[in-house]
Point group: C2
Chain length 385, copies 2
């Protein structure tokens, strides 16, 4: 019998998906499940984006776009970077992709030579190490914890850098912790990479969902950095599968070749819909939703602390709280299963984000109404009584 390639042994299932499947099973049995595991906004697609899509679909001309995306969308994103961040990102350096997933595919297919080492954080977005591994790179996890706000330090970079290291992929705000890198930290990392001929890749998909001012973009630290972005989170277009990759000039041609061959192009209806993402009316709606996310965070963090969890890092963005549950359990995986089965509350065990501190942490996503979050907290309080 033919067998899978060796890489498959190193590619873990995305556990939150399995947990979601179990939650849906329970719902099918009639249980009321409170979802605090889902990594996507609970809001519908903003009305102007929907209207743009429905309008585009009227004549049915849904053909391929150029491989790097609709020129007018790339221009709109370039303007957005200029207006929101004050950075110049020419449209020719912007690739429109099938979600941030597509952007990560292009970046790693372009950069990860077999055997090359790539620095990541543990905990971190679970798929990142699999993108590296899929293209035969070697993911190297830097354990990060509360002492560094769950972000890597320059000292970490020095410690984990080897002659095989080719770069790093970090996120700000990060999943599962919501912590950020400052502009100064990003600039220092970019300098570090330049000195070692390394390539910095920064995942900025939670930009816009920050609650104490805007997140600084790595693009301000130089035009030699890959930035992964998405329409899924701030623009709340998860199911549309639309993202983007900002590419250093020297790699544009190679990324375009890869996009032509591996994707042909991103979803055309999604691209036309996204043209409405930057309208003032859309932004006003998104900003009101951002306020709601902030209110949820400001409710949930103390509520969890009141029942025995500890929030040890400052969750400045995204829609997650990474909660230390060591006062309640020494096995977060079993704990999360128990919370789901007995309380009907779905949360994500730390194991989904790596090994480091995994057994003592669970992730709460506040992608649910404040009422439901409160009900979830009440149920867990009752369980752990």
């Amino acid at each position: 019998m033919p067998v899978s390639a060796p890489r498959l042994a190193d590619i873990a299932p995305f556990h939150v998906m399995e947990l979601l499947a179990r939650a849906k099973e329970l719902e099918a049995e009639g249980r009321d499940i409170i979802h605090m595991e889902v990594g996507e906004p609970d809001f519908p697609t903003p009305a102007p984006i929907l209207a743009a899509a429905r309008n585009f679909l009227e004549d049915g001309k849904v053909f391929y776009t150029p491989a790097l995306g609709l020129p007018e969308l790339r221009e709109a994103i370039s303007r957005f970077y200029r207006e929101r961040y004050g950075v110049e990102v020419p449209a020719r350096r912007i690739a429109i992709t099938a979600g941030a997933s597509g952007a990560l595919t292009l970046a790693l297919a372009c950069l990860a030579a077999p055997g090359s080492e790539w620095l990541l954080t543990d905990p971190g977005y679970p798929c990142n190490r699999h993108f590296v591994r899929a293209f035969e790179g070697v993911p190297v996890n830097i354990p990060v914890g509360p002492a560094s706000n769950f972000q890597p330090t320059l000292g970490d970079l020095e410690r984990y850098w080897t002659p095989q290291t080719r770069g790093a992929l970090f996120a700000s705000p990060a999943n599962p912790t919501g912590t950020m890198l400052s502009a100064a930290e990003l600039a220092a990392m970019a300098d570090f990479m330049r000195q070692r001929n390394g390539q910095l890749i920064i995942d900025e998909i939670y930009h816009g969902l920050t609650y104490e001012g805007d997140a600084p973009t790595a693009l301000a630290a130089g035009d030699d950095i890959f930035v992964v972005q998405s329409f899924s989170k701030y623009f709340q277009m998860t199911g549309w599968r639309l993202g983007l990759l900002v590419i250093p000039e020297a790699f544009v041609r190679d990324v375009e070749k890869l996009a032509q061959n591996l994707f042909i192009s991103a979803s055309t209806p999604a691209q036309h819909a996204a043209l409405a993402a930057f309208h003032p009316e859309t932004i006003a709606l998104l900003e009101s939703r951002r306020s709601e996310f902030k209110a949820r965070r400001d409710y949930l963090a103390p509520a969890l602390e009141a029942i025995g969890f500890r929030i040890t890092a400052r969750p400045q963005g995204a829609f997650y709280l990474y909660a230390d549950c060591s006062a309640l359990t020494d096995d977060s995986f079993t704990f999360a299963r128990r919370v789901l089965e007995e309380s009907g509350v779905a949360i994500t065990p730390g194991i989904d984000f790596g090994q480091h501190l995994a057994a003592s942490h669970v992730r709460f996503a506040y992608t649910n109404s404040r009422e439901r979050l409160a009900e979830g907290v009440a149920r867990i309080r009752q369980l752990i009584g």
Copy 2:
């Protein structure tokens, strides 16, 4: 400066895309260009599919689906296989993907171990060898020509098989030739693979667009074959980016892990739209368009032969004619450029599909009205006088 991974040196641009870009430049200058290079149907998305999408978009709940796709769509595809082909393909073996591109990513990420050899045809779909190369497999081209109807024979498989070979990826109907493998040929290949522990992958994305009866599916030759399918061609949903992969049972879990990590899920609006693809009303429309494609083929093949091209293989499907232009030029690449620049007719040079016979062939796509095809032929006749 960081550099791209070595694989990029082996990944060629998709030339037809560049030619398309040049054609659009000429159009922007006011030239009338006849497009006979485009690998996508010229028809709009069928109305029932559009209506399903617009209906789905009404409430804006465009969230992720399960990684392998909407259960009801997987079931609909399973029924389609039963009804149209008489083969049983349980829904659990069907993965919904972002186009056939997504299906090829999943198949090769799952199967291609570094250094493993994969048999392909030359000429063939240009991206296939790049999917193999992207995951560090080694694409091995089997030169095929008119003698074998541009398809590989068992003798070819024996000749090119080495201890490093792990399988083969062939297409029926094929691009750029439109030629097919018979049920007997597919069964013999499947047997050959079983004897050598190899994995057969068959690209069936042009199924439904065949003009002398339906194409046999490789799935009838066993449940141990990967089949790549797409909603782009017969269902005419190119820009929606929706395809599927039929997976042998033993690989379902690994493909699901890859789908979770590399894609999260395929486009949700596209999946809901595709639920209408199997309605009798949609199928009736698609069958009338299939008749139109047949009429175009039946016009174009003799028209090209009348002005000096030769169609040396039997183009039973897809919407391409692979035309021998050796009576007109000994350099099809320069010829195609000249036809574009001087006659305003865009065709694809053989080089896009490999090396074998490339200089003596060009591909004509009949994805344009019969009137425009005739005008294109008239212009080329005038050019080559």
